[in-house]
C-alpha cells in the first residue's frame, strides 16, 4: 500500500463525490404517517384490515359457512352462526338460512395471509388497503389512543361491517 493509499483520502473523496451528486436530485423519502402517499399507492391486492361487505339490501353477505375460519392458518376467526332474520333474501329471492351472530377476528393473531378472502365462496370477506396502525389512527376519537389493550384488537362483526366505508382498495376475490 502506497503512502497515498495509507491516507485513505481517495476513498473518502470518492465516497463524498457520489454522495454530493445526489444532493440536487429529487428526494426519495417521504414522511410516513403525515404524508398520505403511502396509503394512496395501495393497490387492489393489498392485504390490510378485513371488512365484511354487504349485499344490495344492506345485509351482511356472510352466510356463516366457516370456510374462512377453516382456511385460517392462525386460527383467528371466530364465527357463531344463527338463523337469518326474517326477510333476509338471497340473490335468487329466497329466505336466507344462516347469518353470523358473532363474527370476530383477533387481529393480534391474524397474519394477513389473505387465505380467508380466497376461501370465501360468497365473496363475503374482503380486505381493505389500510394497515392496523392506520386503522386505529382513523378510528380513534380525540384524546383516545386505540391499540393500548388487547381488547382493541378483537374486531367484532359491527366493526368489520363499518370498515366498508374505508375507500382504499384491498384484496378482493377478483383482484
Amino acid at each position: 500500500m502506497s503512502f497515498w493509499d495509507r491516507l485513505y483520502l481517495p476513498g473518502l473523496i470518492k465516497g463524498m463525490l457520489t454522495t454530493l451528486k445526489h444532493i440536487p436530485k429529487k428526494k426519495f423519502t417521504y414522511q410516513y404517517p403525515e404524508d398520505p402517499r403511502s396509503v394512496e399507492e395501495r393497490n387492489d391486492r393489498y392485504r390490510g384490515v378485513h371488512k365484511l361487505p354487504l349485499d344490495p339490501e344492506g345485509n351482511v353477505k356472510c352466510v356463516a359457512c366457516f370456510m374462512c375460519a377453516t382456511a385460517c392458518p392462525a386460527d383467528c376467526i371466530t364465527i357463531q352462526g344463527g338463523p337469518a332474520p326474517e326477510g333476509w333474501k338471497t340473490k335468487e329471492g329466497y329466505q336466507r338460512e344462516k347469518y353470523p351472530e358473532v363474527f370476530e377476528i383477533n387481529m393480534l393473531r391474524c397474519i394477513f395471509c389473505g387465505y380467508c378472502v380466497e376461501a370465501c365462496p360468497e365473496d363475503a370477506i374482503q380486505m381493505t388497503g389500510i394497515t392496523l396502525p392506520q386503522y386505529f389512527r382513523e378510528r380513534q376519537t380525540e384524546g383516545e389512543v386505540l391499540g393500548g389493550s388487547r381488547k382493541d384488537f378483537i374486531f367484532d362483526r359491527d366493526m368489520l361491517i363499518d370498515n366498508n366505508d374505508i375507500p382504499e382498495q384491498g384484496l378482493h376475490p377478483n383482484s
Partner: protein, 392 residues
C-alpha cells in the same frame, strides 16, 4: 474455561490479562437480529465466541404438523423474512416433488407460473443481497451504502406489493404455481427497475467494494477455505466466496433455470488488494456479483416475455402420497432444504427445514478465534445471517 496460561518463568515477558466474558447481544444492532455471542476476551483479542441462539424460536417445525400444506406457506415467509419468496418457493418445491411421486397426482407447474417464480425469486435475491450489502456497510462504519441499498430495495418491495399485496410476508408462491397473475403494466415496471438498477451496481461498487477503508477491514479477515466450508456444510455465497463453484440453480437444476444463461461468481485471490479467496471481502463480493447475474436472468425473461396460460396448476387437493422427501433449492443465503414426511393426510407428519444461516453461524466460532472484537462484526455481516431462519 481458563485461558491457556504461559509457563511461570516467562509470565513477566508475556503477561496475559484476565479472561473476560462479554455478552454481545441479543440487542446489538450489528448482530442482525437477536443473536447473542458469548465472547471470551483476552484484552481485545477474542479467545472464543459462542453463539447462543433461540431468541426468535417460533416452533415453525412443530407448528407445521398441525397445519395443512397450504397453511404452512405463510409461515415459511417468517423464516427468512428478507427473502420470503424463496422460502415459499423452497417449501412448495418440496411439496410438489412429494406429490409427483404418485403418478398423475401433480400435473406440473404451468409455464407462466415457472417464469413468474423465477422472475420473483431473482428479484427477491437482489433485494436480499441489497440488504446484506447495506447492513454490512453500516456494520463496518459506512452509513451511506445502507441508505442507497434501502432506497433500491424499496423499489423491489413496491413491485412485490403490486403483485401480491404485501411488502414482507408475501405468501405468493403456492403449491402448483403462484397465487396471482401479474397486474397490468407489471412487466414494464420490472423493466424500468432493471434499467435503473443495473448501473446502480457499479455505484455500489465504487461506494463500498473498492473503498480502501472497507478493504482494510475485510480483506484477509476470517479466511474460510473451501475444505472448512464443506466440512461445516456451508452453502450459498459463503461457499462460493471460498472459491468453490457450487450453485444448485446450475448444478442441480430445478424449475426452469436450465433455460437461462448465467454465471456463478466465485471468490478469488486479488494480490494487489490483499484479498484472498474465502475472506470476508470475497464473501461480500460474491453477493455483489450475484446481483448482476440475477439482473441477467431477469433481462432474459423480459426479452422472451412471459408465456401465456394459467399461473397455477389445477389441483383437486394438496394431499401428497405416503412417503418422504428432502428437497433443496438455492435461496439467497444458501441451500434451503425441506424434509417432509407425509402419511397421506392433508397434514404433514414432520417438517424439517435445513436452513443455510444455521450452518453458516456454526462456523462463526472457528472463524472468530484469535481475531479482534471489531472483526466479529465484520464476520457476522459477511456470512449474512437472518436470525428468523436460524431459529425458525
Amino acid at each position: 474455561m481458563a485461558a491457556p496460561q504461559p509457563e511461570s518463568k516467562i509470565i513477566e515477558l508475556k503477561p496475559f490479562t484476565d479472561e473476560m466474558i462479554v455478552s454481545m447481544g441479543p440487542q446489538h444492532p450489528s448482530t442482525h437480529g437477536v443473536l447473542r455471542l458469548e465472547l471470551k476476551l483476552d484484552g481485545e483479542v477474542v479467545r472464543d465466541a459462542i453463539p447462543h441462539i433461540g431468541y426468535l424460536h417460533r416452533c415453525f417445525e412443530k407448528h407445521s404438523e398441525n397445519l395443512n400444506y397450504q397453511q404452512i406457506i405463510p409461515f415459511t415467509d417468517r423464516m427468512d423474512y428478507i427473502a420470503a419468496m424463496n422460502m415459499n418457493w423452497g417449501f412448495c418445491l418440496a411439496v410438489e416433488q412429494l406429490m409427483a411421486k404418485e403418478e398423475g397426482k401433480f400435473p406440473g407447474v404451468p409455464e407462466r407460473g415457472e417464469y413468474l417464480r423465477i422472475l420473483i425469486g431473482e428479484l427477491n435475491r437482489i433485494g436480499s443481497h441489497l440488504l446484506s450489502f447495506g447492513t454490512y456497510g453500516m456494520d463496518i462504519g459506512a452509513f451511506t451504502p445502507f441508505l442507497y441499498a434501502f432506497r433500491d430495495r424499496e423499489k423491489i418491495l413496491l413491485l412485490f406489493e403490486k403483485i401480491c399485496g404485501a411488502r414482507l410476508t408475501y405468501n405468493y408462491i403456492r403449491v402448483g404455481g403462484v397465487s396471482r397473475d401479474t397486474p397490468p403494466g407489471f412487466m414494464d415496471e420490472v423493466k424500468e427497475f432493471i434499467d435503473y438498477f443495473e448501473p446502480q451496481i457499479d455505484v455500489y461498487n465504487s461506494l463500498l467494494t473498492a473503498n480502501r477503508i472497507f478493504i482494510e477491514r475485510t480483506a484477509n479477515v476470517a479466511v474460510m477455505d473451501a475444505e472448512m466450508a464443506i466440512n461445516y456444510g456451508i452453502t450459498g455465497p459463503n461457499l462460493r466466496g471460498a472459491g468453490l463453484q457450487w450453485d444448485l440453480r446450475k448444478d442441480e437444476t430445478y424449475s426452469i433455470y436450465d433455460r437461462f444463461d448465467f454465471d456463478v461468481p466465485v471468490g478469488r485471490d486479488i494480490p494487489e488488494l490483499g484479498v484472498v479467496s474465502g475472506d470476508c471481502w470475497n464473501r461480500y463480493k460474491v453477493r455483489m456479483d450475484e446481483m448482476k447475474e440475477s439482473v441477467r436472468i431477469i433481462r432474459q425473461i423480459l426479452e422472451s416475455g412471459l408465456p401465456d396460460g394459467p399461473v397455477q396448476a389445477e389441483l383437486k387437493a394438496v394431499r401428497p402420497p405416503k412417503g418422504e422427501i428432502f428437497s433443496r433449492s438455492e435461496a439467497p443465503r444458501g441451500e434451503l432444504g425441506f424434509y417432509i414426511v407425509s402419511d397421506g393426510t392433508p397434514k404433514p407428519v414432520r417438517v424439517k427445514a435445513k436452513s443455510p444461516c444455521f450452518t453458516a453461524l456454526s462456523a462463526l466460532q472457528e472463524l472468530s478465534r484469535g481475531l479482534m472484537v471489531a472483526d466479529i462484526i465484520a464476520i457476522i455481516g459477511s456470512i449474512d445471517i437472518v436470525m428468523g431462519e436460524v431459529d425458525r
